[in-house]
Symmetry: D2
Subunit: 413 residues, 4 copies
Amino acid sequence: MDFAHTPRARGYLESVRHFLESEILPAEAAHRAHLSAARERPGPWTVPPVTAELKAAARAAGLWNLYLSDPAHGPGLTTAEYAPLAEQMGHSPLAPEVFNCNAPDTGNAEVLLHHGTREQRDRWLAPLLAGEIRSAFCMTEPGVASSDATTMAATAVVQGDEVVLNGRKWWSTGLGHPDCRFLVFMGLTDPAAERHRRHSMVLVPTGTPGVRIERMLPVLGHYDEPYGHGEVTFTDVRLPRDAVIGGPGHGFAIAQSRLGPGRIHHCMRLIGLAERALHLACRRATARTAFGRPLADLGGNRERIARARIAIDQARLHVLHAAWLLDTRGPAAARGPLSQVKAAVPAMACDVVDMAVQLHGAAGLSDDTPLAAAYATARALRLADGPDEVHLALVARLELAAQQEQQQEQEQL
Amino acid sequence: MDFAHTPRARGYLESVRHFLESEILPAEAAHRAHLSAARERPGPWTVPPVTAELKAAARAAGLWNLYLSDPAHGPGLTTAEYAPLAEQMGHSPLAPEVFNCNAPDTGNAEVLLHHGTREQRDRWLAPLLAGEIRSAFCMTEPGVASSDATTMAATAVVQGDEVVLNGRKWWSTGLGHPDCRFLVFMGLTDPAAERHRRHSMVLVPTGTPGVRIERMLPVLGHYDEPYGHGEVTFTDVRLPRDAVIGGPGHGFAIAQSRLGPGRIHHCMRLIGLAERALHLACRRATARTAFGRPLADLGGNRERIARARIAIDQARLHVLHAAWLLDTRGPAAARGPLSQVKAAVPAMACDVVDMAVQLHGAAGLSDDTPLAAAYATARALRLADGPDEVHLALVARLELAAQQEQQQEQEQL
Amino acid sequence: MDFAHTPRARGYLESVRHFLESEILPAEAAHRAHLSAARERPGPWTVPPVTAELKAAARAAGLWNLYLSDPAHGPGLTTAEYAPLAEQMGHSPLAPEVFNCNAPDTGNAEVLLHHGTREQRDRWLAPLLAGEIRSAFCMTEPGVASSDATTMAATAVVQGDEVVLNGRKWWSTGLGHPDCRFLVFMGLTDPAAERHRRHSMVLVPTGTPGVRIERMLPVLGHYDEPYGHGEVTFTDVRLPRDAVIGGPGHGFAIAQSRLGPGRIHHCMRLIGLAERALHLACRRATARTAFGRPLADLGGNRERIARARIAIDQARLHVLHAAWLLDTRGPAAARGPLSQVKAAVPAMACDVVDMAVQLHGAAGLSDDTPLAAAYATARALRLADGPDEVHLALVARLELAAQQEQQQEQEQL
Amino acid sequence: MDFAHTPRARGYLESVRHFLESEILPAEAAHRAHLSAARERPGPWTVPPVTAELKAAARAAGLWNLYLSDPAHGPGLTTAEYAPLAEQMGHSPLAPEVFNCNAPDTGNAEVLLHHGTREQRDRWLAPLLAGEIRSAFCMTEPGVASSDATTMAATAVVQGDEVVLNGRKWWSTGLGHPDCRFLVFMGLTDPAAERHRRHSMVLVPTGTPGVRIERMLPVLGHYDEPYGHGEVTFTDVRLPRDAVIGGPGHGFAIAQSRLGPGRIHHCMRLIGLAERALHLACRRATARTAFGRPLADLGGNRERIARARIAIDQARLHVLHAAWLLDTRGPAAARGPLSQVKAAVPAMACDVVDMAVQLHGAAGLSDDTPLAAAYATARALRLADGPDEVHLALVARLELAAQQEQQQEQEQL
């Protein structure tokens, strides 16, 4: 048992942390000011200019696409090695993009890398990995419980050489980005097939006729510009059959393969976000006074700070363990732990951010600190990629089955 | 002991509830659409036209200014009689305004009614009670812990026949309303006076030179238009001396007198808001299915619904009891219970709304339901008018003192 | 709405509180010493002599059988009037017995008063009301989930002039008392009858052949002497048919009728118990110092004290409201609120006692304070008379039904 | 980063687990029956005969004194290697003794091994390591807050060739064991010395004149026989000066050195205890039915099971990480994490056991399952070795200091 990161993970961690502290955090104010000013004007979203500068610097420093496990495209870090880097990126809302490690581009890139045709990789993956274009992922639907994939209503019907898409999707993250060039769409292809062979994943260029962005959706009042979460309709969208990634009926299997690492990334970023909130909370607790004493010395504030430290440290170890299981024993062995962390970490992050908000007074609810947006991010992840309750149900099912098995073994002793 | 409302309270309750259900709830969509469309355009906020229609109807129905305890201005309901009406108004974000019962106009009206000069009452109170103008209350400051009044930095200095105001205030609710015509400002007048005689409350017409609205502040992304919460600076603002309400040095005493009923109103509206959230949660739990069953039959959802019902009912009784104490034994006797409810009810409302959000999935975080705005409202009230922690500290202090007294009595037996 | 107790309730409250403070609390040490010493010796339990003295004094003072609502047997207080007296009795583990108001004798007395024959009332009720004998209630069974009455396995079969009892019961409270003279037994009489007409309630003198006390059961190590909770078997116990209280098949209806007031009594006693714990917590928090300061000034202790005060006050109002509903609108209207308080109050009492334990350090877990036994009492009531979860399920069911009804009404507007 | 245990740790883990399941768990009933029967009789405690048999078997299997890190006395496992073995031992209340790995003998043995004289090691350590005698540790005092060592009132005064002990200690674990032969006593030697050089640790044979066991103390009604927690007075107890372990004034330093590993052991045993409780909960949830369904399918039971699994897994990783830090970076680096786990793990264990109790109904509160005693064990550890609050205060202090340091570094960038 060795809790130390590998030397190369430590090296990247040091570099990413240094880049974060010396380049990204100081740029946050300009980034926020750009977006704030843009909100006052009508018109489409724009990317704050500082982002392009930071991206160039990160790429030049070799801190680019670090999430890819394929050594052909970078250092080829394991999930557990990348995890602490994702945590660092979670400290700042702009960091993931700067390192070209932001969702859902990461998942879309993995999908094209492993399942795309050569042409798809050349045309879409290459500029995505170069950070020149962005993409979106269209899975969740307004009319059904998306955690139950069998209820998906959108269709991707194969007709001769074509695939025809129809349906309404929402919470398609990345849809609002001015550089968003393609969507990955999930739809029902064959309702008669075996349950996990019914759906297809289709690459849809954004300008395809029949694709219509209906609106962008706020999360607790935050639009998460310039990415955003969109509602989009697909009306008789016709694409050549090879737009179906990996072939018809493979949508579910491909989606599953991206979920594991995606959950690790989400959770680690939330741990970074919670660390940032705790940092701000501590700074406020020592800098602000009331009734003649720093807030840190009033009421239960110190206990809350201690509990936040404990919760964050437990969560980090929990996610790292799940990442290690995923790396060393594969997705099946990691299934329970992945659901465990997905059920536990977003709620932990909500609690820590909320504690920090409370210490900041009403300022914590405004946009003068990163806390309100951080709360929106953490709260959304108690729902995105399966609500807490769905993951808890899976954890309970696995637990009851494991206990039953264990009991039977003991009875045979 | 009789938990039944008085006959006249029951009558008003029935009328307000009927008006809410038949007039206000159906108008919510138009109200929301107006504000939504307005957000896309630059320019100052406007009041949705439906508001004026509803106000006229409510006034015609005699459901107007019901919060005023003075029988010269309406039915003269007690705090406990008005409380269930405030609960009803909490069901809808537009209801308080429709009945001319919205904060902070209610508090400002009470202040002018009891402490204003005849001229102030004629010029400002009359149109306020007629619903023709709106007002704001400027107390909280960005640089200090406003729960500790001794730290207030803004000044209201008497110079001959004039009073001169300087300072920066924020979270001044109502400041963004197009009909906002005056502000009630709190400032330090005499630092050498006894602690509760140092401050003055000043009536400031909005157009007075030196008054500058710096910006409006979001709460978890919500601006609460057309009222809003503003940041405003006062730079050498000069007013005639009789703009000081009740005379110099009476600011603190006047502020205290408005707090008690204000806390009851806030808490009862939050109970209505929680009821609305629970109603939406139950509707969703029965209407939405996943894995072949309504959400109500999955996981711990029923327990959460039951706990919400229990929490709401306990909170309502708690606030009604505090209102009854305020009515029958006065502010001193009600001080502990008022802090108790202020510390407990907003957190309860946050929990119930959050539960309803979770049942709605990501839709609950968008603005497609009233839940995201409701969460912002409830969360803000864990800070506004004293953060939870300040009220808990007071409750503990009173408790320890009471227990010590009781013990001494027992020892004398 | 009037939260004041009626004058006669206030009078009794004053008397009971005075008796508690001047007579009972000072006798606790002797009571505890008797039981402690007795534990070191083998042999059956004995009643501490101080109990008889206190009972005589309470009876002489007219503070006797106050729970009976029948004015033929005392003041005839309503449930809401008796409730605050029950709270006072909850302050001390010996108080309920002193006032002849302890469970399950209260419920058994009510049953005999309303459903017993004249002979049963003369032979069993009269000495029970005189405090000369004690009784037990045998309902819960080890092999089945007793919250689901349909699963009851014990039988009470009518054979000609006799009724024959068989089965195993446990958690029969009062079974260990040296003066316990009769048991009230619930059993299945007619499995083919309508669901609520299958069971019978039978009065069983303790010495009846076939009745065998198997053992007494501890609750977190506490036996609650001299009452105790017993396991008892019934093997072909034969009694005359008129031992069936109210006649065969009425068991369920009679049991239901005792539940409502019983839940109020339990909950109010727990509120008294929580008040006692809070009192001890406050005393400890001011008397004990560590790191140079009283515990009250360390960490989150004050917030915990404040939260306990809030939780107790909310719980009290909740239970009083349920009592008032029971009195004024009957058991059907009070059903939801009765389950609400039963689900909420024991858990609240556990939390408050646990907080007091923690402030006392390890002493709080020993028997040097009343806290460990108080915790056992409160914890047991999260299970006795229906576990929390069963009550929550009922509350949720009623809530979903009420919301559905309300929605249908609104849709018809 | 490698979460796999070392091969030798895995080997021992397999052996201990097998021994636990095949030898110890089956013996629990006999062990419990012995203690139960003994409670009915007066007289001193006795060790259940099965213990000696199991100890012999464990020793023969080489599963003995595994906690000792000194390779001269066994395999010399690291703290992190021993930790999973301690977890296994936590599954059964008799397991730690069977493997000669029970507190406080473990701590006393470490103290004598590292700080004892040759004579002390020969006379006391050898039979202790052989499992022939037991010992107790006398630190906590009734009159002071023992978490604040500066308040210790007991004295160990050096007078010429002698040391003279006076004072009252309680919660001296192990004091009731029939084989207890010596106590390790902490007392104040030199009040004028530097704060951490004032106390001495003294080895006191149990029969020494002036040592008087006053009584044994229950924890939530459980005496934890045959070890027990005692109250003991020391009245002019005179011993030769070399009874002072490590010499006068070294008591505090020696006590500190035993705390780190001790906290790891306690926490890991509690994790085993929580696993046992979760196992029983799952068994009950599937075996028991109510309302026609297994408890697992009712209400929020599955969510509770899932949350227990998550809490246990997080806690285990947390403690293992602290153990690894202690092994690799030493006590100073591990100080914060050791307080973190001590503040978090006992509360987690309480919650899991309480959940299991609730699923078992009233049986869970009796002694028919190991749950009531398990709850007492877990609850006591929220107080023993520093209450939660003291550890939280330390964690907060370290956190605020670390954040301040980090901020200063960032400001220098």
